[in-house]
């Protein structure tokens, strides 16, 4: 696994790229208007969107990363995954249906509905760009490293290929191509994961206790890896990490944006139910893969799996196929790699759309007030290319050795502390106003930056001891600060007449779906019929 050129893996990678291009070609014929570009024409079925949303969540850093962390640290590697699994409950209970009913293309639409559109859009768009941009670079760094190791394509070339393809999907196929690439990938990933998990269990006669004992016997920490405390060493670190991921996942713009692709709030709800089914299964399954990798590969593979353990799952697949170098092992590795490649490509495409929406829909169209629905789509395509080029440049600049934990942490902490609080309060709190949203976003971002700078991966040097804050994921501190900012800004500023009046409208819209984009519209006769989405922009 040192990254020598692997013909079979490169061929598989080529096949995955070819399939995604076919999907993009098909989608391109159906992507003309802005609604089609950002929201796949609101024609995605609930079940399809649910699988695609699960795909958005199952990035390389979750799928390969969680298995790797569990290989390295045992149980503690699972805590992040558990927080993320549960985070789809607040998405279901609080956000998915309401957002579908009240929004159009972006998270900022929901806030701009009742607050002063211009300042709130600027702040929310910047926030979306920060979260998606940072997460995009983190994913690309991981992608380049994984492809380099599996296929033997050098890091810069791998990043370039991923970057170019993600831009191609988005520019030509928009949200429809992205959605279907996600669906294909999620299905491949779940099949590959299930086969590996069942094969691992079969080796231990379907006795999970024996599997755990086998893993413990092969780990220097022994039985300690079955319980907590090997990776997240202090109680406060465990609580903060779990909470940051729990709230942060529910505030990721590229995931929230998915709920605009379905026809109505019922389909949005169905989506989350499918997502939860897949992710709960995945989260339970990843323990078998993670502990299985430890039990079957042993301590000897520590170097081969890489610093974050990302290659533990692919190596486990090869081992189950008969071992590296054997025909069976190489085929198993190549097939598993196909799922990994598809994962990488799909997630980055979703992030590009979210960023392009913030630039073209929020900043260019609504803040600057330029252009029409028609030209917005063109600008969104140009923005996608710009985001792609910037992300590739950023990734190549920081290089494959960069510790992506800092970037992933930043994305989740921003989402949890600066995106989730104002969004939730705009939907649920009558008194909430523009000043509150702006203060909340500012407090959230500033607190996140300060706390991350003071955390172990950054202060006083990379991965150092003795930093002022022990919290790699500082949500425990920054989420309350984000909410506090929203509250302070609101109560210290004057009541906004319009904010108060539009609350009724947003409440009725979000709860009933009356007047939602592409949903049932009251017609003259008082009866409901489906109408094309109105083109007027608030």
């Amino acid at each position: 696994m040192t990254g020598e050129f692997n013909t079979l893996a490169v061929a598989v990678f080529g096949c995955v790229l070819a399939v995604t291009l076919l999907i993009t070609r098909w989608a391109a014929k159906r992507t003309h208007s802005a609604t089609e570009f950002y929201a796949a024409g609101r024609g995605v079925r609930g079940a399809q969107n649910g699988i695609a949303t699960a795909g958005d969540y199952l990035s390389a850093s979750t799928f390969l990363g969680y298995a790797g962390l569990m290989y390295l640290y045992g149980f503690d590697g699972w805590i992040i995954g558990l927080g993320a699994c549960l985070s789809f409950l607040p998405v279901l209970y609080l956000l998915a249906e309401r957002m579908r009913n009240a929004g159009k293309f972006t998270v900022a639409d929901v806030l701009a509905f009742r607050l002063k559109a211009r300042p709130v859009r600027i702040a929310t768009a910047i926030n979306t760009l920060l979260i998606s941009g940072i997460y995009l670079v983190a994913q690309l760094v991981g992608a380049g490293a994984v492809i380099e190791a599996l296929a033997g394509i050098s890091f810069p070339v791998a990043v370039l290929i991923c970057g170019v393809f993600m831009v191609v999907y988005v520019v030509f196929g928009g949200m429809l191509a992205t959605t279907w690439v996600q669906i294909v990938k999620a299905v491949m990933l779940m099949i590959a994961g299930t086969i590996v998990a069942v094969a691992v269990l079969a080796k231990f006669n379907f006795n999970p206790g024996a599997l755990l004992d086998g893993a413990a016997a092969n780990h220097p920490d022994g039985d300690a890896i079955k319980g907590p405390g090997t990776y997240l060493t202090s109680p406060i670190l465990i609580i903060s990490t779990g909470l940051t991921i729990f709230i942060g996942t529910a505030g990721l713009p590229h995931i929230l944006m998915r709920f605009f692709t379905v026809p109505d709030s019922k389909a949005a709800r169905t989506s989350v139910l499918y997502t939860i089914g897949i992710i709960a299964t995945f989260t339970a399954m990843v323990t078998i893969i993670g502990f299985g990798a430890r039990a079957l590969l042993g301590q000897g593979a520590t170097e081969a799996v890489g610093p974050g353990g990302n290659l533990a799952a692919p190596l486990l697949a090869a081992d189950l196929g008969g071992g590296l170098g054997t025909t069976g092992g190489d085929i198993a590795l190549a097939l598993f790699s196909a799922a990994a490649f598809a994962t990488i490509l799909a997630v980055v495409a979703g992030l590009v759309i979210a960023s392009a929406g913030a630039i073209a829909h929020d900043l260019w169209r609504n803040v600057l007030g330029r252009g029409s629905e028609e030209s917005e789509r063109k600008v969104a395509r140009i923005a996608s290319i710009g985001v792609g080029v910037a992300a590739i440049a950023g990734t190549l600049a920081i290089g494959s050795g960069f510790n992506v934990t800092v970037l992933v942490s930043m994305a989740f902490v921003f989402a949890a502390s600066a995106n989730f609080p104002p969004l939730l309060l705009a939907l649920l709190w009558r008194r909430f106003n523009t000043a509150g949203a702006l203060t909340g976003i500012t407090f959230g971002i500033v607190a996140s930056v300060v706390m991350i700078v003071l955390s172990p991966p950054v202060w006083p040097g990379p991965d150092s001891q003795g930093s002022p804050s022990p919290l790699t994921f500082p949500g425990l501190v920054t989420i309350p600060i984000g909410f506090l900012g929203c509250w302070l800004g609101t109560v210290l500023s004057r009541r906004e007449e319009t904010t108060d009046a539009t609350y009724d409208e947003l409440l009725v819209r979000s709860e009933t779906g009356i007047g939602s984009e592409g949903g049932p519209e009251p017609s003259r006769s008082g009866r409901f019929e489906r109408q094309p989405a109105p083109v007027e922009v608030r």
Binding site: P90, L92, K226, I239, K266, T283, A501, P520, S523, E536
Partner: protein, 100 residues
Amino acid sequence: MNSLAEPGWEALARDPEFRALVASRRRFVAIGTAIYTGYLIAFLALLGYAKDFMANEIGGISLALWGGLSICALTVLMAWLYARRAGEWERMAQRVAERA
């Protein structure tokens, strides 16, 4: 906005059935959110402050791992409970919408 028929939002917001819908849903959501958030915090706190207790095994599997599996199960269970109630809210919303 749809200029054909702009519904009276304030009147709709005062509609008794709409009030009932909002109250019923908010109550369910508030209780549900308190339960799953509380469960997660309690689980994380046990992992942190009762490390040795969570390392005890039942059936060869540590309490920490059982707890993690219970988080997966809780997610599915609470999603199912929400979906079961959602049909009722949908019918209420439909009736409110018909009066719009």
